[in-house]
Symmetry: C2
Subunit: 425 residues, 2 copies
Amino acid sequence: MVLDPGSDSYRHLTEEHVDHRFKGLPPDAAGLTVGELAAQRRNLFTGGFTTPVLALSAERLEHNLRLMETYAARHGLAFAPHGKTSMAPQLFRRQIEHGAWGITLAVPHQARVARAFGVRRIFLANEVVDAAALRWVSGELDADPDFRFVCYVDSVRGVELMDAALAGSDRPVDVVIELAAGEGARTGVRTEAECAAVADAVAGARRLRLAGVAGYEGEVPDADPERVRAWLRRLVALAVDFDKAGRFAGLDGIVVSAGGSAWFDAVADVFAEIPELSAPVLKLLRSGAYVSHDDGHYSAVTPFNRVPEEGALEPAFRLWTQIVSRPSADQAFANAGKRDAAYDLDLPFAQVVRRDGAERPATGVSVVSLSDQHAWLRTTPEADLEVGDWLGLGLSHPCTSFDKWVLIPVTEPDGTVVDYIRTFF
Amino acid sequence: MVLDPGSDSYRHLTEEHVDHRFKGLPPDAAGLTVGELAAQRRNLFTGGFTTPVLALSAERLEHNLRLMETYAARHGLAFAPHGKTSMAPQLFRRQIEHGAWGITLAVPHQARVARAFGVRRIFLANEVVDAAALRWVSGELDADPDFRFVCYVDSVRGVELMDAALAGSDRPVDVVIELAAGEGARTGVRTEAECAAVADAVAGARRLRLAGVAGYEGEVPDADPERVRAWLRRLVALAVDFDKAGRFAGLDGIVVSAGGSAWFDAVADVFAEIPELSAPVLKLLRSGAYVSHDDGHYSAVTPFNRVPEEGALEPAFRLWTQIVSRPSADQAFANAGKRDAAYDLDLPFAQVVRRDGAERPATGVSVVSLSDQHAWLRTTPEADLEVGDWLGLGLSHPCTSFDKWVLIPVTEPDGTVVDYIRTFF
């Protein structure tokens, strides 16, 4: 089982007390447990929640979980959704229940969170040379025979540091060679010759085992469908060459992994061409942003725009703010800012206005800037906006939205809050 | 007393268990309480901490706390440092111990955190029209006769919404009229005539009391010393006019408040000119960024650059990261990104490299971009940087640094960790 059935961490989440740690939650719910509050099925708009408050749509979340499960299955891909997006173990669990092979993470701290919630397959899509973190990994591997951990290597020195830090481990750590997405791209080995040198170093390391190859096509310079496919073919060719050279001898599976949230159609296409190797190939897709999707960057770059016949993700977040100031005909200010909304790729999008229980489009309202705790709004003459109105904002970039909220209400279309999602950043 | 002596929330912080919630902390400390870990006085570099990890210098923090205490006292200012910067009750307590009148906050959720830690004087430098939040404020006021709460109003409609939400309160809520810093500036009433209209509305509200005037000179358009002083004189004149008109009759103190972290020298100068009014004037300065200061934006804009004879703040943060990849002669990657470092005003600054216990300047290394979990480094030929090195980064903008860390080690110069600061965002 991918999830340890003995983990009672999920139950502990429902037993946490609602208090000052959780912004947006009803002050008059203080003293209740999160589970008790969820059982009350309060309404987000009338149940005492304070603004700003981020809400996650229950049905859109479920839609997105199903869609990527279906997509991965249809294309013969194993799926290890990137957990760094949400850092929400309740979502990790649902991703696993929706067929995920395991969870991808970016740094050892994130792996600690997943392990605390019983996740038994972790793909750490990054180099790790931190001795203290590696000792922890080694301890987890030794303590749980069902725990599978794979991480990147991209340098001989990194391999040496890992091997030294893992002295004393019983089980070797599985590593994959990271192939860089190009010159000037992010981490990863730049050339096939260097990849071979790093693989040689792994072969010579006592406490590492070469498990495959991986990379991130999202960093291909000047990415377009052809360049991304060309790089993915390099990655596949590297796996084939390594296999021919006997580098994967003895494995019961060979990992080939790629795939963020912008090019998984290309990954599906190219990975479908992987020839038979000496062991079954685990074609591991790692997309993470799909879980909430968004109204900005990922809405624009999702592969489903190119393959609409395969479905469409739905933006699941809405940030509810309140108008606190309307100092002039062309300006208004809402009570949410950089502490509440993603701002690294796009500013939030004004979507809907609620007044006296009625909701309408936020015509003529746009977010033009964020302070730490304020959204600056520009209003045209058609905008009907006054102090006290609630303004619903769409967001761009799931990763920098989740990380601003510790406990996120999950809502039905009428605003009924049916669950609360806890994050750990 | 500004701090409720009966609050045992601070003790609860030391009793929290070290676990997956706190990134950077030693995995092998799992199970210890925060207090027990602090008592071990581990070293940040050798004590099992994992990278990335943010550290706060104990001596620089203390220096900054003392300097602003001295500054405010020298200039006859009451001080309510903005708590939104750190959202760290342990720092609120130290600010109060260093003479602060109370704590400034930006949104009701932040006030809930401060109240949970016994803070009895809160200046909420923002409009609040959220009915659920106002009911909570009202409940706190009714339950604790020693709790003083002041917030902004800037519209007649806002006054009406507040008064309606506070129906049933025993004690009125103190409000100050916010004067906008200019046309196109943030929240606040634009003209003196409108200020009078809002003050009239407050006078007619049953559950509000007009306590003074306030604003934020940091939003003065095209701010320079003269424009900032001109606006501050407008603010003082508004207080004088209101006082002459009898609007403060019956108060035992009149609040006049301004002062972020860029212009408190101008605030000190202009507030020194406030004439005698019908009640003593509480000249309330609200600077918050000073507590950690920074290596970027606030280092450039601090008033101490103009009045060096009054002292100098010291940047107290250093973000320790580790080099995980060195794929080419001119590139390297550290394992910290947007989840770990402020990036809204400037990118982090490469300061020092640690290898084998020795520290030296990070010559030839600069941060050129941040991904979610990676720092992109450019290196010149003089840079001596390899995989495994620790890289210490300076940060710009305290508000967006604190909010990325839940528990922050406080270090002595040799790296000994003497305390842990908990934040609540």
